[in-house]
Amino acid sequence: MSEPPVLSLRDVKKDFGPAKVIQGVTLDIAPGERHAIIGPNGAGKSTLFNLISGLYRPTSGEITLRGKTISGVKPYRINRMGLSRSFQVSNIFSNMSVRENVRCGVLYSMGYGYNFWRNIGNLIPVQEKTVEILDSVGLIDKADQSAALLAYADQRTLEIAITIASGADVVLMDEPTAGMSHSETDRAIALIKKATQGKTLLIVEHDMGVVFGLSDRISVLVYGEVIATGLPEEIRNNALVREAYLGDEAELPGVEA
């Protein structure tokens, strides 16, 4: 941990009226790290993501991205600074085709901003990048289908595709495999591994097999507090974690995952 952290949370708190949902989270994410956030339902995992990605403004505390403060900054600015996120519930442009969905994700990063004088069909670099992403996620055959008519797993894949489209190097994924079957989950995880190669990944995940197989480090969030952060091995053996989260049924997945 000698490198300065790419993403850093300092005593971040979030209240909704009387409800203290996040009660002082401090977390450092190193560049290139794959970091999983686990915790029981209602622990505040999604809220934490919403704070980092700018959807919510923290009640107190500070979040920095490569040393720059991003707490209270608008989501689109944070996105332009190189942080991208996916959503737990598929959040796609359902009236557009798959290709157009990905293209929306690509546009800003390719420098076309709010351009209103170029024909989008003639922006060759944009088309190439779009095709490249569609190809890498395996949606190229469905490129011209309407996003609303995609099968559920494909919608989830599209969600990932939009998220990585901008080429952001800090990627937040909120339960990317939620509701997927086993084989679909395996494929999605392989995709996430490939797509976030060399990038920093912060992931919320329920599937322990995925968590322990994928992540370099894990943080456990319970009632809005990080009760432990460490290597998968440390988390597995942490008594606090076992007690608070994993409970009696704690059958932590073996190394085979």
Partner: protein, 424 residues
Amino acid sequence: MNQQGTVLDTVSDLGPSRRAKFTRRVLPFIIMAVLLIVIPMLGPSRTALSLLNAIGINIVFALSFNILLGQTGLLSFGHAVYFGLGGYTAMHAMNWIEYADGGFWGSYPMFALPLVGFAGGAFAGALIGWPSCRRAGIPFSMISLGIAELVAATGLIFVSFFGGEEGITGDRMNGVEMFGLNLGQVHQVYWFIAFWTFVGTVAMYAFTRTPLGRLTQAVRDNPQRVEFVGYDPQQVRYLAFIASGGFAGLAGGMSAVNYEIFTPEALSLAPSGLVILMAYIGGIRYFAGPILGAILLTYMQTNLSDFSEAWLLYLGLLFIAMVLFAPGGLAGVVIDVTNRLGKPGAVQQFVKGLVAVATGMIAFFGVVILIEIAVRLTNGHGEVFQPFGIGLPSTSLMSWAIGVCLVAIGVFGLKFTTKQVGER
């Protein structure tokens, strides 16, 4: 290198083929241009030409409105403000051209006046859009209404710009001529309107194909997600608002040349409401929808208003029926029918559809009879409604019974037939 090659191949394979692009994106405009050129060869009357000119103006106006409603998902109740402010700007420019002593306006062709209107409308959009685009959805609609009222009221106060209730007038036969048109006769004005209708339509279609144009649709469908791909939805809405104001101003500039007068009436709620009806009845989900709506409603406005005092009521009923039963508008109905025609069982469905239309017409006739005899009962002119030469006196109970019966037959028939069509 090889890798690059395959990616590029896929790019050209992806999306619609060249052929599909041509038939969907270029051919309609060629047809439009041909129509615009052929129409005057059919020797239309002066009245027909004036109607066509009015239609052209409304096409551009309705399309500009749909940049907001159909494309960006913003329902504005005050779109005539931009039409009016653009038109007023053009009207003043018309007078500057007339009294110009050389200089910029001395060499400015009257033919290009809609560009001044565009500038005026876009400027108004930029100014007014700033506070109003801070909210979307229902609040945006309410704000647009409030601001429209403000501008309309201001129109009566600032006489030097708006000319009071009489408005301001001008003379289009001045300045440099373009394309050999002095804009004197109505057929000359036709070429002017046809040109700008075509240019406006093509430009607005092109706008939908730009990155910003695509983003407006993304903002309409899912503003939250747009924020997480690096765009500020508020900014997208604002820019769309300016573009929409600009094209409304273009239509205003066309109107300034066509009528040579602008009054504060043009800024009021009535034309703002009419453009909503035009766009929606035509179909806001399709680019061509507002064009259909503009043609139909302008035609109705000129012809039906002579036929019946209650034409606005018919219009309102048509609009409500569209909202309830055909949210895709006329364009949606046309596309739905053509889609079904190619499918198996099309003939059967077509027949059923015809039956449904026929029963619908019965109900419609019933409604017309009821409305018309009601109008004649209360307006005190003592006329008798005589559809197809059959006299239906308003005071006779029989007339009312006929109307009610037709409506009842139509409605029940419609319920019965639509049930069958629904079951396939």
